[in-house]
């Protein structure tokens, strides 16, 4: 029991154990004395020049004349409920934002976009031959490529369909 008091005053006891210990302290005066002596030791170690008589007994006497205080019953519960409600609201709004964002990019849209891209690819356009040099010189500034700045280090190879493919040498057969 004394060890539990020591642990409680250090703030290292679990909540349920603390609750039962405080119930016990309420019933037993010896346990209360241990609590008081342990705190006195701590105060002496921290501030040996500021030790004075205990006021507990005097305050206790004066408290006997005081009406018992009672907080409005729902206050503590309301406080906890408010904390819970706020945290729940924050969680729900976070979930809502995530859900809304995921709806914006729905699974049906993504394949459609991919299909559109693939549909665009086969389209060929004739680029004037004299613009090739211009495009090659400025391709690193193109916003459509992910390789901005690095494109100048890539050597380009052109291929034309008009050129007849090189046929294998029939003598090799």
């Amino acid at each position: 029991m004394k060890q539990k008091i020591s642990v409680l005053m250090d703030g290292e006891l679990f909540e349920d154990e603390a609750a039962s210990l405080l119930d016990h302290i309420k019933r037993g005066s010896d346990v209360h004395k241990d609590w008081e002596v342990y705190h006195l030791i701590g105060d002496v170690l921290r501030q040996p020049d500021h030790i004075h008589c205990s006021l507990s007994a005097k305050v206790r006497e004066r408290l006997q004349d005081e009406p018992t205080v009672l907080a409005p019953r729902g206050r503590a519960v309301k406080q906890r409920m408010r904390t819970f409600a706020l945290s729940a609201a924050a969680s729900l709004s976070a979930v809502g934002v995530v859900a809304w964002m995921s709806l914006q990019i729905s699974p049906e849209v993504a394949p459609q976009m991919a299909m559109q891209q693939t549909a665009l690819r086969p389209v060929s356009m004739q680029i004037p031959a004299n613009s090739n040099d211009y495009l090659i010189a400025h391709q690193e500034f193109s916003p459509s490529t992910d390789m901005n700045g690095s494109a100048s280090y890539i050597s380009t190879v052109s291929y034309s369909r008009d050129e007849a493919p090189v046929k294998n040498n029939p003598d090799e057969k």
Binding site: S6, E15, H50, I51, H52
Partner: protein
């Protein structure tokens, strides 16, 4: 359960009508609050009365305490106001006009002043208590003494002490308790003999 949570649990018990829980808070904070009030009210007897008044005011105001700040921070404000009101009622000025907070008050030293105005009897008793605690501490094995000092002076958690002393948390818990109990064993006879003085 942290120290603040222990206080909060005691406060909630008082708010449910448990006066005894308030005793525990008084035992815990009486010297801390007394030190604070003695910065305003120099006479020890008056300072003691004002400290009691502050506790009674705190008890009356507890239904309104919602736990938004730590209990001691709240008690500290009541202590300051009670001390200032006491000085105003006696038409004296507070020794300081600049605001200061609870943390500053902990480091403020006015020991020499307190010693000057303290009664010889109280001073002797204070000295005896301090001597017994310090002598008991010196008699403790090194590991127990270190564990207690790390906790009480340095304010380390059990986990931190376990790390410093390179031992399990359970050992720290046991060492601190054994150290406290060894000192308390030597202190109890002195406290019993001076019961009239309510040490």
């Amino acid at each position: 359960m942290t120290d603040r949570e222990v206080d909060q649990q005691l406060v909630e018990r008082v708010q449910r009508g448990d006066k005894h829980a308030f005793d525990l808070l008084v035992s815990k904070y009486q010297r801390k609050l007394g030190r604070l009030i003695s910065r305003f009210v120099r006479d020890p007897a008056e300072a003691e009365d004002v400290t009691q008044d502050a506790f009674i005011k705190a008890y009356r105001a507890l239904p309104g305490f919602r736990g938004e700040s730590a209990f001691y921070t709240w008690l500290y404000r009541i202590g300051i106001n009670t001390a200032k009101n006491h000085l105003l009622a006696n038409k004296r000025r507070a020794p300081t006009s600049t605001p200061f907070d609870a943390e500053e008050s902990e480091s403020f030293e006015e020991a020499s002043l307190l010693r000057e105005v303290n009664t010889p009897e109280n001073e002797l008793m204070s000295k005896q208590v301090v001597d017994v605690v310090q002598a008991s501490l010196q008699q403790l094995p090194e590991d127990l003494r270190s564990a207690l000092m790390l906790r009480e002076i340095e304010g380390l958690s059990y986990e931190e002490i376990a790390s410093v002393m390179n031992c399990p948390i359970g050992t720290v818990r046991s060492r601190i308790f054994r150290a406290r109990e060894a000192v308390a064993e030597n202190l109890r006879p002195l406290l019993e003999t001076s019961k009239g003085k309510r040490w």
